[in-house]
């Protein structure tokens, strides 16, 4: 008995256990401080009461009721889902093509990595600058309109270029395509090149190889990239404002407006709803493809 208890007591503080805890603690602390704590604050505030002057600690679902019953919420979500869908299609097509070019057509590995780094160059400048740099291009007197008019294709400036869904989606695509390229590039790089020879040997045309070999093997990359792009668009609050000329708002920019008028509990409830919806979307995407399994099964 005595020996057994001493042994179990010793195992609690055995070097192996201490080492495991020491390894886990830093990450656990980071997650606690930067994920759990802020979330807890937001959730707490979302059930508080408020009036024009102050936030009152309480427990009420009024904020949620107000967010969920408002027509504004619905129209904001519909707008953002539409923008997210359009952006997703564009980034997927561009991202997939760029990744395929880098992985399959650039023979020299070093050149491919160099070109890949070139893709990241725009990210060395601020998002705001990259967004605003579209203005002189798309504006009424902008480069594109002037060029089209000079060539004679159009006779008066196109209005839809700037301050429209078009310009918003263009900015999103510009900002977020890299998040699609990276995971797809990664998934494509892991494909064994001999599979292409096997497909060729079987007589597969290029489109058949793409459809039946490359696409299924890059599913995980597509899913990861889609999650990045969709969540980034849904969480956006300034691109919509700037590129729509202030006529549109996003879900998050509505929260921002709440906050600037000190409606913290309402903003918090709205944030909780957004988080829930994004979680459901991501969960739905992950149901389609088991990313974990795809990532683990490396060669």
């Amino acid at each position: 008995m005595k020996a057994a208890s001493r042994r179990s007591g010793a195992s609690w503080l055995s070097p192996a256990r201490v080492k495991s805890f020491a390894l886990v603690t830093p990450l656990a602390l980071v997650l606690l401080m930067f994920v759990v704590a802020p979330l807890a604050v937001v959730m707490a505030v979302s059930v508080f009461r408020y009036d024009n002057f102050e936030v009152i600690p309480a427990f009420t679902f009024e904020n949620y009721a107000s967010v969920l019953s408002s027509h504004l919420t619905l129209s904001l979500y519909l707008t953002m889902l539409k923008l997210a869908a359009m952006t997703w299609v564009c980034t997927l097509l561009i991202g997939y093509s760029v990744a395929a070019f880098l992985v399959f057509h650039v023979r020299n590995r070093l050149v491919a990595i160099g070109l890949f780094l070139v893709c990241t160059v725009p990210f060395w400048t601020s998002n705001v600058i990259r967004m605003i740099s579209w203005l002189p291009l798309l504006g009424k007197q902008g480069v594109i309109n002037q060029a089209l008019m000079a060539v004679g294709v159009i006779h008066e400036p196109l209005q839809m270029l700037l301050f429209s869904d078009f310009s918003v989606v263009i900015s999103y695509v510009h900002l977020f395509t890299i998040f699609m390229i990276v995971p797809i590039f990664n998934a494509m790089s892991r494909i064994d090149p001999s599979l292409f020879e096997a497909a060729h040997d079987a007589g597969a045309a290029r489109w058949q190889t793409l459809l039946w070999v490359v696409l299924p093997l890059t599913k995980s990359g597509i899913v990861l990239g889609s999650i990045f792009v969709v969540t980034l668009v849904m969480g956006d609050f300034y691109v919509v404002k700037v590129m729509s000329g202030g006529t549109d708002a996003s879900v998050v920019s509505a929260m921002y407006d709440d906050i600037s008028t000190l409606l913290f509990p309402h903003a918090a409830a709205s944030a909780a709803v957004l988080m829930l919806i994004l979680t459901i979307m991501v969960a739905a995407i992950l149901r389609l493809v088991d990313v974990r399994q795809e990532l683990v099964s490396s060669r």
Partner: protein, 381 residues
Amino acid sequence: MASVLAEPEMASGGRGGVELAGIVKRYGDGTLPVDGINLKIGSGTYCCLLGPSGCGKTTMLRMIAGHETPSEGEILIDGTDVVGLSPRARGTAMMFQNYALFPHLSVRDNVAFTLRVRGINKKDRYREADRVIEQVQLTELSERLPSQLSGGQQQRVALARAIITRPRVLLHDEPLSALDEFLRLQMRSELRELQRQLGITFIHVTHTQLEAVAVADQVVVMDRGHVVQSDPARTVYAEPRSAYVARFMGGQNVLFGRLEAVEDGIATLRDEGGRGFRLRLGGSVRPVGQRLAFAVRRDHVRLARDSAAPPAFNAITGLVRAVEYQGTFVKVTIRPDGSGDKDDLFVAYVEEGDYFAAPIGIADRACAWWDLDEMHALAAD
């Protein structure tokens, strides 16, 4: 049963005779992995391309398969030049060294892939796939993914995928190299049996001599982009044409001597150490004084402790360097007297019973001798 596979390009012509005429492969940097190969592989032959790594055998195979294009020359399959044609139009199928199975497809879908590509409906292609899967004895595993199979099973899947279209020529790139010894021997005989059943041409790349002689009707030994010998397995093993082939195949000791005289077709040679040899020259005429290479079968050598008076001809004396027990025989390695570091060691395969009747240990002196008929002249390299 073959209705779904009634391919015009396969129905016509013969059954997979391959002919290579003046094949050269030149890379951008000027290297010549394949440098002028002429070779004829009869239809329905099991042919092994054998050689050390870098000898061009895999490049050769890939050119026949249509995965690489020769810089010069013609590849004829059943009399038609196939250079530039797709593997499908050639009627060839390839088994890749790492099998190249599609990791996201089940065994059945892997096997049926070729038929899917040809637009054959699911029911027909699955029926055909199941038939081939049964042929390679994988029926219970047909729903599994490749990653859930062992190496040997993966190889069977690759084999099934390759034969489902009934190719005229089946190409194997080192098919057994990834398997352990036991499986290798088993698969080796299965490949041979399958080839016999299908009656098509197999071309099999390997760097293992015993594998080649065990399965092949025709063994093609390659060296630095050239074919150095192409003969039936027994001929390549027993009568290597050159010192390179003799050394590479093993089974032979390569010796050298200067020609002193020829009498009734029997040459007398003498090496640097003063040892005399008598060798049947056959029809070839060699000038006296020329240095000749010749081979002696390792397993047809008699061995004894060094006797006071070794035979005057066709004997080697030296120090035993190594003794390896091989089961049915014992491999005794001798350093001939007077030989330098770069010279070949002399090896005798002594029948087990004979060896243990009078064992010879390491550092003993030994004498090996042999009959005139156990040796033959080699061409200069």
